[in-house]
Each structure stands twice: as C-alpha cells, then as structure tokens.
C-alpha cells in the first residue's frame, strides 16, 4: 500500500463529506467520516478487475475504490453527470466498469448479491475477487448466514467486510447482536475470519490483503471485522443519540490523524507532504463540487428510461 496515497484517500473522504454537508441541497446523507480507514484499507487490497459492493453508507467505499470524486458528487447531488445519471443517488452509487459494483441501501441486501458476483468471478476464473462492505447492523440478518454457508460450500472468492461502527441507527451493537465478536459468525462455516482495529488503515489493509490473496487462489471466502467509529449521527436526517462526552471520546480517535501521526513519527510524512496532500484533496473536492454544480438535473423523462 502506498502510504501517502492511503492518507490522501482518507482525507479525500473526510473533506468531500465536509463539503457535501455544507450544501443545503444534499437532501440527506450517510457519512463515512470516522470509518475512512476501513474503506481505504480494504480498497488498497483490491485489483482493477475486482468488484466492491457496499451498503448505503457508501461515500467512503466509492471514493476509496477510486471513483472520480466529481462523478460521486454529481450523483449524490442528483445531477445528470453522475455515473447513474443522478438516478441512483445516495445509497445506490455505482460504477461497475471501474470495479465499484455499487451501493445498496437495503441493510444486508447486498451480501448474497455479492456472493452472486463472486460466483460469476469464480466461473470466469480470472482470479477476480468480490468484496462486500456492510455494517454491524447487517450481521443480525439471515442473509449473512445463508451467504456464508453457500460461499463456504462453493469456495467463492468473496471477502465479507463488516465495518462495525458499533451502532445501527440508535441501537448499540451489544443490544442487537449476541456474539462476542462478529467475526465469530464465520467460524461454524469454516470461513476464515479476523477482527482488526478499523481505525488503523494498515491493520485493515494487511488483513484484507491476506484474505484477498487466499480467496483469489481458491482458498474460499473470508470474513473481516473492522472495529470503527461513526463520527456523525446515523444520517443527516437522524438525531444523534450519543452523549456529548461519548462524542468527544469518539472524535478523539481519528483514523486520519492517527495515521498521519504515525507516518510523521516514522519519518514517512513531512510537513510538505501533508500540505501538498491537503491542497490536492481540496482541489479535488472543489473540482468535484464545480463539476456537480455545472451539471443539470436529469430530464424528467428519465423517470421512464432504463426501466425494463
């Protein structure tokens, strides 16, 4: 993994969301801030031919997968220049020709679909891998069980990534899920699994890389749980339920700052580097916004196109 690229990718997600949040016309949004290391660490383990699926919390995964921020911003703001012409919008971002199979806003709804894409990859036998990122909330759904079982039986090249931010809307993971670790869910099926610090992009990347290599070479599916933190409320339309004190503690452990500090300590990041990265990111975000602003809304006639 290119360390500075990873740092930059995380910063891009963060600043992209800040810029989006400032827009009164964003409708409502689900942000990945705080969880950047999961998306970036996982995506750094992917190759161009791989496919990534994710949940409705999709800004981090889309950007980390390398989708042009201009396209992502246009789609999120409902503009015709989005890759889906603004029709998918939040929760349904997609750019499959660049390995981003897409987001799907039904919790756990994409887990079996990802397995289907993995089946296609297996049949195609080009070493392609499919990754599905979902939340802790999705782990209560039967889709996970059904998919783990079939993926194990068929040794599908599937990496299931649980971005466990400890909350499903207002419900703490402990109140919703009985297992001690969510990665324990894989064990009965003989699916290899691990739990890593999802605030540590290198830890995520290292484990994802190992699992990806294994799956690519026929070793079958894997389950990676990443312990992360959500920096904002569930969505911009949802009230925050955590106390101010909790929020202070949460925000105090920022995956971007943690990584920058570590790189600086190791002499891998100079002040110049950081300034450059910040400027590049700000340029990207400004460019994305300008691009989205320049694009019109779709023609109302699009409401009837691409249906059947």
């Amino acid at each position: 993994m290119d360390r500075l690229a990873a740092l930059k990718a995380m910063l891009l997600i963060r600043r992209f969301e800040v810029a989006l949040d400032a827009r009164p016309d964003h409708g409502f949004q689900l942000y990945s801030s705080g969880e950047e290391a999961v998306a970036v660490g996982v995506c750094a383990a992917l190759e161009p031919g791989d496919q990534l699926l994710c949940s409705g919390r999709s800004i981090g995964p889309a950007l980390a997968r390398g989708i042009d921020p201009r396209l992502v911003m246009a789609e999120l703001l409902g503009k015709a220049a989005g890759p889906s012409g603004g029709k998918g919008g939040r929760g349904h971002l997609a750019k499959p020709d660049q390995g981003f199979f897409g987001a799907h806003a039904v919790v756990a709804g994409n887990i079996s679909i990802a397995a289907g894409a993995a089946l296609a990859a297996q049949l195609e036998a080009k070493g392609g891998l499919v990754v599905c990122i979902f939340g802790d909330g999705a782990c209560g759904a039967g889709a996970l069980h059904e998919t783990l079982n079939i993926a194990a039986l068929w040794r599908l090249p599937l990496l299931l990534v649980c971005d466990n931010n400890g909350l499903s809307v207002s419900t703490p993971r402990e109140a919703a899920l009985a297992p001690a670790k969510l990665s324990d869910l894989a064990a009965p099926f003989g699916v290899t699994a691990a739990t890593v610090d999802g605030m540590d992009v290198e830890a995520v990347h290292a484990q994802a890389t190992e699992f990806a290599a294994r799956a690519r070479s026929g070793g079958g599916p894997a389950f990676l749980e990443c312990l992360s933190q959500r920096f904002f409320s569930h969505s911009t339309a949802t009230r925050e339920t955590r106390s101010a004190e909790t929020m202070r503690r949460v925000l105090d452990r920022c995956p971007i700052r943690l990584y920058a500090d570590r790189l600086r300590l190791n002499g891998q990041l100079g002040d110049d580097d950081l300034t450059r990265i910040e400027r590049e990111v700000d340029d990207l975000v400004a460019g994305a916004m300008a691009f989205a602003d320049a694009s019109p809304y779709p023609d109302p006639a699009e409401a009837l196109r691409d249906v059947v």
Binding site: G88, H92, Y297, E302
Partner: protein
C-alpha cells in the same frame, strides 16, 4: 392553533403513540417490537414515550432482521399476545412476508379456528427522497392476501383510531402509514375512539366526480379538489381508510351519484388498489367514466426531479378528473 371542543391537535406521529399507549395501558398483552423503537422512539418518533412508560420488556428494540421480527410478532400473537411489529419501510416488509402471509394470514383458517394471530405490522410507505428501495407502496399485494386486514390512515385522527382498532382485531393487520404524513397534524378526539375497520369515509362532498384514494394521497386529492373547485368542478373525495376489507359500498354510493370515478394511489397502477376499486364499483353501479392515477411504471428515484415526475401530484389528478369529465 385552537382545537375543536372535545378534540386535541396532534401530530400524526403523536396520534400513533397515543393509540399504542392507551392500548398498552389497557392490555398487558400489547407489546412493541422494532428497530429503534425503544429509547429512540421510532424512526418518526411514533413510539415516543412508550419505552419510558412501559419499559424494555414491552417495548423491544430488535436487530435488523425483518423476517424474524415479523415471525416473532406472529408467533407471540398466535400464543396470545398482541404485538405491534414496526417495519420501518414497507420495502423491507418483503423480508417478512413469509411469516405474515404464509403463516399469520392462514393460521386461523388452517387450524380451523384454533389459532388466531392478532399481530399489527406497522409500516411506512411512499416516497420522500429515499430512493428506489425505500419508497414503495405495496398495499395492493396485501389486499390480495386472504386473511389480512390492511388499513391506511390519511390523518392523525384515523391514525389514532385505526391503530386502536387494529390492536383489538383478532387477526393480522397491516397498518400502512406514509412518510409525508408524520409531520402533519390534525384534530383527534379527546375521548378514546375506534375508527371502524372496513369503513371508508367521504372526506369531502362533491357532485361531479368521485376520487377514491387513501393515505397521503388523500391530501393530494384535496389539493386537486381545491383547485378544481375554482374552475367549477366539484370533487367528492372518498378516503378508503381500510383497504382490506374494502368498503365498496361507500365508494359505489358516491359514484352512483357522480357517475365518474378517479382512483388515486401513490403505488404502481398494475394490479393496484385502483384496479380493484374500479372493478368492484362498476359491479355495483354499472359502467361509469373512470381514470386511474398512480406512479409511473418505473422505480421511484431519490432524485428530486425524478421522484416528482414519478409520483402523482395535484396536477395529474386534475388532468385525470378533466379526462373523465370530458369523456
């Protein structure tokens, strides 16, 4: 805002909470299951206060597991309880159709009356910027399931009165509300009242055409009627309130006078509520001029332009009214 005597102004969400609260107080067998229904009070605060009043044993947060949520509700109902299961959006009810349709709707029949399953599945239909998998109106599916009662209030008073009736009904009920109704407010009687299941109501009397509709679309119909009134067209609006069993008599009675019918629903037209209403009304009153209004035959995007294009608004209702009156 001042209220009518004997009434109080409540938000739609408050009306639901009040109904559930009264029924929970009256009957210890009433319990609530759902995602974020506890301390959080529900996605639309429609369960606000219940957790504090009745505690975690009767107001239960569940995991995101719609199939099991409905299954648990149905099972507890068959065992004598009266659970409300909150399925946040109707799109996710698909995940719970097996226990609802294959078990609950058939339990009484298949056991020869030994078992009934008085569960209330409360769910929210309709579009409000949430996109293709969070905007659907699937009421019509449920109307085709023998054994299910389906209610769909259009205002706070009926949200209150239908929820109370649903919680006393001895079989499964699906209570369908709508995202755009939660911020609306309306007069609700101070005294406990029950909106009868299976009774439509004439929401606005009129002469030239009957608009039969339900849920949020009653408001859209009202807007269309207001505007048409200025052009001298008088619309009678029938709020179906219960979709199964359908109160055909009330609609037919209205159409017998107006001899013209517009059906209005937010969901898909094909095999929809309007198709059924149209057929059954004509069985009663003979051929009349009819038009259906519903969503375009396409998914409903979260995109503001495309969402607005897809779902019915007052202008489309007015067009339909003019079409049937010109016919």
């Amino acid at each position: 805002m001042s209220s009518e005597a004997g009434a109080i102004k409540l938000f739609f969400r408050e009306a639901i909470a009040r109904a559930v609260r009264e029924e929970m107080a009256a009957d210890a067998r009433v319990i609530v299951l759902g995602q974020d229904v506890g301390a959080f009070g529900g996605a639309y605060k429609e369960f606000h206060g219940l957790y504090d009043q009745f505690g975690a044993s009767r107001v239960r947060d569940t995991p995101v597991a719609e199939a099991a949520m409905v299954g648990l509700g149905v099972g507890a109902a068959a065992a004598g309880y009266r659970p409300i299961v909150s399925i946040t959006y109707m799109d996710f009810l698909m995940l719970g159709l097996d226990p609802l349709v294959n078990y609950a709707a058939k339990a009484r029949f298949k056991t020869g009356g030994q078992v009934t399953a008085p569960v209330v599945v409360k769910t929210t239909a309709g579009a409000k910027g949430q996109g293709v998998a969070h905007s659907q109106c699937l009421e019509a599916w449920l109307m085709g399931v023998a054994g299910l009662v389906v209610v769909a209030p259009s205002n706070a008073a009926d949200a209150y009165g239908l929820m109370k009736s649903a919680l006393r009904h001895d079989g499964p009920v699906v209570f369908v509300d709508h995202k755009r109704l939660f911020p609306t407010a309306g007069e609700v009687p101070l005294a406990q009242t029950f909106t009868p299941i299976g009774q439509a109501v004439i929401r606005r009397p009129g002469e030239h055409v009957t608009i039969a509709t339900h849920g949020y679309m009653v408001r859209v119909a009202g807007e269309a009627a207001d505007r048409l009134a200025k052009a001298g067209v008088s619309c009678e609006i029938v709020d179906l309130r219960t979709l199964a069993p359908l109160d055909v008599a009330t609609v037919a009675g209205s159409v017998a006078r107006t001899r013209a019918l517009v059906t209005l629903e937010e969901g898909q037209l094909a095999c929809g509520v309007g198709a059924e209403v149209a057929f059954r009304v004509q069985e009663q009153v003979g051929a009349v001029r009819i038009a259906r209004v519903g969503a375009l035959p396409a998914p409903v995007s979260s995109n503001p332009v495309l969402e607005a294009a897809a779902i019915p608004d007052a202008a489309r209702v007015m067009d339909a009214v003019r079409r049937v009156l010109d016919a």
